[in-house]
Amino acid sequence: MFLALKEIKHEKLRYGLIIGMIMLISYLVFVLTGLSQGLAQQNTAAIKSWNAKQIVLNKNANVNLTQSLITQKASQQLKLTATEAYVGQASVVAKKSGLAKESAQFIGLESNQFIAQHLQLTSGHWAKNQQQLVVNQSFKTAGYKLGDHLKLNSSKTNYQIVGFTKNATLSIAPVIYGQLATWQQLKNLNNSFKTSAIVSQKANYQTSASDLKAYPIKTFINKLPGYSAQNLTFTFMIAFLMVISLIVIAVFLYILTIQKIQNYAVLRAQGVPAQFLIRATLAQAFLLVLVGIIIAAGLTVLTSLIIPAGTPMTFNLPLLSGIAGGLILMALFGALIPIWTITKIDPITAIGG
C-alpha cells in the first residue's frame, strides 16, 4: 500500500486520468443498473406487491395476462380461499379535460379478496362501487387529485378517483384499480366471462380445469412482453462495461509496470521479494478502482436527486454494492497481467556495463 499510495500521490495527473476513466465506466454501470432495475420494477411492481406465488391463466393465452380470459364455468372449477383472488386486466387510456391522456393498466378486483383487502393506500379509500377507482401515485404527478373524475377509453362513464396507491405499475404503465365488474364493463364482456386470471399466494396452487393452467409467478413475469429481452440487453451492457473496466485497468497497469521494470529489477537485485511488488500493484489497482467507484457513486446519488420523477430508475443499494464489488474484482483480475510481468523480471537486467 505504501508504494501504491506514494506513486499515486506523486503522479497525480497520470493516475487522475485512470481514475477518471474508471469513474466514467463505473458511473455508466451504476446508471444502467438503475435503469434496468427501474424498468424491471415498472414492469412488475404491481404483481410483486400482491405477494402471489402462482397465477392461473387460460392455457391458450401463451402465459399472457392480456390474452387470457377465464369463463364463469371454468372459474367455478377452482377452489378459491382467502389466499386466491381474481384479476381482470384491461389496457386503458385515462382522460380528463385539461390533463394529458395517461396510458394505464386497469386491474379489476373483488373487494373481498386478498389483493383489494391488502392494497396499501397512500390516501383515500378502496372503490366502493363500479365508478370508483384507486390509481397509482404517478397520477398525482400528472395532475390528478382525489375526487377527480376521468373517463377510460371510449366509455361514457365518469369514474372518480377515490384513492391513491404506490408501487402500482405493470408493463411500464401505471395501474388503475377498480372493481371486477368495472373490468367487465371496460372489456364489454357478458356474464359468461369471470376474470383474466386468478392469483394465489400458495406456491403449490394448481387447477384441474381443462382450459386453465397454473404458472409460477416468476415464469409469468419472465413472459411479460419484452421483459426478458430488456433485462438481457441491460445485463449484456453491464457485463461488457465490466469487461471494459478490466481491460482499462490491465492495459494501464501493464504500461505503467513496463515503465518501472528497471526500477523493479534493481529492487529485485537488492532482495526485495516479488510478492512485495505484486502486493503494491494489487493495492494500486484496488485504490484506483475504489476511488473511481466512490466518485461514481457520488455522481449516481447526485443523478438520482436531479433526474425527472418519471424516469424509470431505481437505485438498489445491495445490488449496486454487489456491482461495485464486481468492478473491484475485475480490477484485481486486470492486475494479473502486470503481476505476471513482475514475476518475470530478471534482476540481472539491473546490472549494466
Binding site: 505504501f2 508504494l3 506514494k6 506513486e7 500521490k9 506523486h10 503522479e11 528497471q262 526500477n263 529489477a265 534493481v266 529492487l267 529485485r268 537485485a269 537488492q270 532482495g271 526485495v272 521479494p273 512485495f276 534482476p347 540481472i348 539491473a350 546490472i351 549494466g352 556495463g353
Partner: protein, 230 residues
C-alpha cells in the same frame, strides 16, 4: 590482517550458449572478500566484470564452481532464500535506476524499513551517513530534483541503510566528479576498515585504486589478484 571471508567464489566458470555460439565468460575464478577489506575489480568493457558481479551477488548461478556468502553456499538455497540473503547480507550500489522516482529521499529509506524492519541503521547513524555523503539537506527531494552525483550518493546511502555485511558496487563513481570520487572512495574505505564490511567495487575508475586493500584485474574472464595493503 586475518579476517573472516564473507564472500567466497571457488573455481567459478560461466559459459553462455552452446556449440558455435558458446562463450566462456569466466574462467576458474577464485576470489574471496574478507570483512574489513575493500576489493577493487578492474577491467575493460566486455571483460566479464558484470557477470562476475551478478554471480557474486547471487543473481545468477555459475556454470560450475560455488559461491559462499556468510558461510552459506548459494547453490543450496532456493530463489526465495537467495532473495532473503541478498536483502540481509548484500548492499547493491548500481549504475542507474537505484531510486524509485516517486519516492523522496526520506521515503527511499522508509521503503527499506517496510521490507526489512530489523537491523537497519539507527536514525543517528543514518543522519551521520547522510552528512558524510553531503546529502542531509536533500531528504525531502525527489530523484528528478537531484543531480546525477546526488542521485548516486543517495543510492549509496540507500544500499548501506540495511546495514549489509557485504557491499557490491557497480561503477559507483561513474556519475561523480573528482572531489566526490575522493569522498565516496573514502566512505567505502571507512565502511570496510571501521565498520568491518566486505566491500567489492567493480569499476574501471582508476581514481579508486588508492582506497583498495586488494585489486583484482579481470581480463577475458581471467582474474588476477594484487594485494595492495594487507
Amino acid at each position: 590482517m586475518a579476517s573472516q571471508n564473507l564472500l567466497e567464489m571457488q573455481q567459478i566458470n560461466k559459459v553462455f550458449g552452446s556449440g558455435l555460439s558458446k562463450v566462456h565468460v569466466l574462467h576458474d575464478i577464485n576470489f574471496s572478500a574478507a570483512a574489513g577489506h575493500l576489493n577493487l575489480i578492474l577491467g575493460p568493457s566486455g571483460s566479464g566484470k558484470s557477470t562476475f558481479l551478478t554471480i557474486a551477488g547471487g543473481l545468477q548461478a555459475p556454470t560450475n564452481g560455488q559461491v559462499i556468502i556468510a558461510g552459506q553456499s548459494l547453490a543450496a538455497l532456493s530463489a526465495k532464500q537467495r532473495d532473503n540473503l541478498r536483502l540481509k547480507q548484500i548492499g547493491f550500489v548500481l549504475q542507474s535506476y537505484n531510486l524509485l522516482p516517486y519516492l523522496n529521499v526520506s521515503d527511499q529509506f522508509s521503503l527499506v524499513d517496510r521490507i526489512k524492519p530489523n537491523n537497519n541503521l539507527s536514525a543517528a547513524k543514518l543522519k551521520k551517513l547522510l552528512k558524510e555523503l553531503d546529502i542531509a539537506e536533500l531528504i525531502a527531494k525527489y530523484p528528478a530534483e537531484l543531480s546525477g552525483g546526488q542521485n548516486q550518493r543517495v543510492a549509496i546511502a540507500r544500499a548501506l541503510y540495511p546495514n549489509p555485511a557485504i557491499i557490491l558496487a557497480d561503477e559507483p563513481t561513474a556519475a561523480l566528479d573528482s572531489q566526490r570520487v575522493e569522498q565516496v572512495g573514502q566512505l567505502f574505505a571507512n565502511l570496510a576498515h571501521n565498520e568491518k564490511k566486505a566491500v567489492i567495487i567493480v569499476t574501471h575508475d582508476l581514481r579508486l585504486k588508492k582506497f583498495a586493500d586488494q585489486i583484482n584485474e579481470i581480463s577475458d574472464g581471467h582474474l588476477q589478484q594484487t594485494i595492495v595493503n594487507d
